[in-house]
């Protein structure tokens, strides 16, 4: 009995401890008391080159602004959104944070981010200076939730040396692509014929995101929709969805896109692939390799209309009760300034969200980027849905089973339709 009472005592003291922790641990944001500097915390999930470019931009911003000081923190991508969520619930959210536009609906539905409309107008942020397609990708219920920084979309890289050898490179050093889907198949077939087994006509990673991005690009070119209009049901198990998927299956069956590629980018970098589908961020990585003579182009149009998978890094305001209106306005001024100076960001390969940046001399002088910048007008974003992350994961897994030969195209779509509906219903 005595033992029990000591234990109870300890539990009680523990309770006090817990209570003490949860009351007020102070938030990351503090508006400088005596000085007139507004201090902001900023979180982003960038790594490698992206993180360095962002750091450089934040440093420039701080140097040029007396009244605002931004404290930049990178969080590893794997735990980024979890950390963002928990920071909001524990009232420790950063003043401003990067969010992908594909996550906006999810974050908004969980009350984790705020509408930007009121602070944006106070910060004199002019939405019309941004590309409309990208701005729309971060909107829910006609309200802005993200200040877009870029779009990072699926594009095509080709190896000039291998294409030349296959006779599918014209005098301007551009690939000769025939009309539509058949033309593209023919193009890859030529590369296959002219090279040995160690050359991949098309190298894209066979698992995870790539099969999903390629399928979504092709399906969007056919005008397909992922979900029905009110986002309550899957809407891709149809002729168009099948056509897009079967085209991918055809490339695999003919050995034009060999199975089981673990890292397609690595093969392209090693001069072993004719064509390569990947995100724009690969440009920055590929151009480091001087032994590689390549061209970066928009994702080829194989069907009715130009379209390609894409997402966008946007600046969002995490919910934070302690944040003052002044801090919100300062945060949006910061976001707008970074977007305006995204020429540094473009060096990583991303396409800047502000029309003026794309049109600037500096951007046009950057190699490769301008060759695919046009896609910003027709990038096909995933629809806004609170379940998008779960759906994306499911699509990635199941389409990888397909590219691996585990299921037929029709089976894949049947399974996906059933599971997507389940996710939405939950």
């Amino acid at each position: 009995m005595r033992n029990v009472s000591v234990f109870t005592l300890m539990l009680l003291s523990l309770l006090f401890l817990v209570a003490g922790c949860s009351s007020d641990a102070g938030s990351g944001s503090t508006s400088g008391g005596e000085s007139n500097t507004t201090k902001l915390t900023f979180w982003a999930p960038f790594s490698g080159g992206d993180a360095d470019f962002m750091k450089a931009m934040v440093d420039d911003f701080n140097e040029q602004h007396e009244d605002i000081e931004v404290d930049y923190l990178t969080v590893t991508f794997d735990e980024y959104y979890t950390k963002l969520r928990t920071s909001v619930t524990s009232n420790q959210a950063p003043d401003i944070a990067i969010a992908h536009s594909s996550r906006i609906a999810e974050l908004q539905s969980a009350n984790l981010i705020e509408s930007l409309d009121s602070p944006a107008s106070k910060a004199n942020l002019d939405w019309s200076t941004y590309n409309e397609n990208v701005v729309n990708s971060a909107m829910v219920d006609n309200q802005h939730y993200g200040v877009p920084l870029d779009t990072h979309a699926e594009i095509m890289f080709v190896n000039k040396m291998l294409l030349d050898k296959a006779g599918v490179l014209n005098e301007e050093g551009l690939p000769v692509l025939g009309e539509g889907a058949e033309g593209f198949t023919e193009f890859l077939t030529q590369i296959k014929k002219s090279s040995g087994k160690e050359i991949f006509p098309l190298s894209s990673t066979s698992a995870g995101n790539q099969p999903r991005w390629i399928w979504w690009s092709l399906y969007s070119q056919l005008g397909g929709e992922l979900l029905n209009e009110d986002g309550t049901k899957a809407a891709f198990n149809n002729e168009k969805g099948l056509q897009a998927l079967e085209y991918m299956g055809g490339l695999i069956d003919q050995g034009l896109w060999p199975k089981n590629i673990q890292d397609g980018g690595e093969l392209f970098l090693a001069n072993r692939a004719g064509a390569h589908f990947n995100g724009v961020w690969m440009t920055g990585a590929i151009e480091q390799n001087e032994a590689l003579d390549f061209v970066a182009l928009p994702f080829p149009q194989l069907f009715d209309e130009p379209a390609t998978w894409g997402d966008s890094h946007t600046f969002a305001l995490p919910v934070n009760e302690k944040q003052t209106e002044e801090e919100k306005v300062a945060a949006l001024k910061f976001a707008d300034w970074i977007a305006e100076h995204a020429i540094t960001w473009a060096e990583a390969g991303h396409i800047p969200s502000k029309t003026a940046v794309i049109e600037s001399k500096e951007f046009q002088a950057l190699p490769y980027r301008k060759d695919y910048a046009e896609i910003i007008d027709y990038v096909s974003f995933m629809p806004p849905s609170k379940d998008m992350t779960a759906i994306n994961d499911l699509l990635g897994d199941q389409l990888s089973v397909f590219t691996n030969g585990g299921t037929s195209a029709q089976e894949t779509l049947d399974i996906l339709e059933k599971e997507v509906n389940k996710i939405i219903a939950n």
């Binding site: 969520r85 995870g208 199975k259 673990q262 990888s400 089973v401 691996n404 585990g406 996710i423």
Partner: protein
């Protein structure tokens, strides 16, 4: 008076125990209770939990991916446990022999165990990856033209995970076996030698029976560890091809932290927790019986 001294001694003991107990309660007991609570709610970080009764358990039972992940975990337990124990024992016998250089071998066998999982996984992905991996390059150089997809064929992927796991963790079992081997009295072996028993007979009649309790311990520890499989497939195959090497812990992680369905994830955790409890209980049973026999 005597009673009073006893009391103060108790108090001192509790004081010394307090830091551990507080941390244990805060980071073990509380999360376990909290997880149980969450498993009966629709729960998302940032959203008010809604009580839904057994709804999460129903969702879990109807979820084909849950059964697949549980099946994958059981499969790994079945294939990994015997291999890890047999190889661990063989290695222990080897380094326990009177050969020269066993200290060096002992260290070499144990060394992988201290590597972090990400380092270990990178090494094995580099070896196993298709087209450009070390193993494929070696096979090509000796004339094997056929591509073998170690990480993307569902049977081979499990083998790859198993090989990596054995290489990484078997050293720990070896150390436990070694401790067991060194506790066997020398005289028994001498007696066996006088009786004219060969090395195989000695192993069957003396070594193995003497190791009985340590084998039970390792089987149970190993089984529980194998049930907790997560990092190796997550880093080596991503749970693929598709979802065919995705273990339960990875699925729980994805459900909870990617899909934000904490409720369902908690109910799955409870299934795993329950299975682990059964093994812990078995361990308790075995060991308490052994202690009684010793008396």
């Amino acid at each position: 008076m005597k009673k009073w001294i006893g009391k103060s001694e108790n108090l001192a003991a509790y004081l010394f125990l307090a830091p551990f107990l507080i941390i244990y309660a805060l980071f073990m007991v509380y999360p376990i209770i909290r997880g149980f609570f969450i498993s009966f709610h629709t729960y998302q970080v940032g959203v008010e939990p809604i009580f839904t009764g057994l709804e999460n358990y129903k969702t879990m039972i109807e979820d084909a991916y849950f059964w697949e992940a549980l099946g994958n975990t059981l499969y790994f337990v079945v294939i990994s446990t015997p291999v890890l124990i047999a190889i661990g024992l063989l290695m222990a016998l080897l380094v326990n022999s009177k050969l020269k250089g066993t200290t060096f071998v002992r260290a070499t066998f144990f060394l992988p165990f201290i590597l972090s999982i990400s380092v270990m996984a990178s090494v094995w992905v580099f070896i196993f990856q298709p087209y450009t991996g070390l193993l494929t390059s070696i096979l090509l150089s000796i004339g094997v033209e056929q591509d073998i997809f170690w990480l993307t064929d569902d049977v081979l992927a499990w083998m790859a995970i198993l090989v990596a796991t054995v290489w990484w963790t078997v050293g720990f079992n070896m150390i436990l076996f070694l401790a067991g081997l060194q506790e066997i009295p020398r005289e028994q072996y001498e007696a066996a030698e006088i009786d004219g028993a060969g090395p195989f007979r000695t192993f069957i009649s003396i070594t193995l029976p003497s190791l009985k309790s340590i084998i039970v311990l390792i089987v149970i520890l190993q089984t529980i560890n194998s049930f907790k499989l997560f990092g190796q497939p997550y880093l080596m195959t991503g749970g693929g091809p598709g979802t065919s090497t995705r273990p339960l812990v990875q699925y729980i992680y994805e459900k909870g932290f990617i899909e934000q369905q904490m409720g369902v994830a908690s109910s799955m955790s409870y299934v795993l927790f329950f299975i682990t409890i059964i093994f812990a209980f078995l361990q308790f049973k075995f060991f308490s019986r052994r202690n009684e026999e010793d008396k």
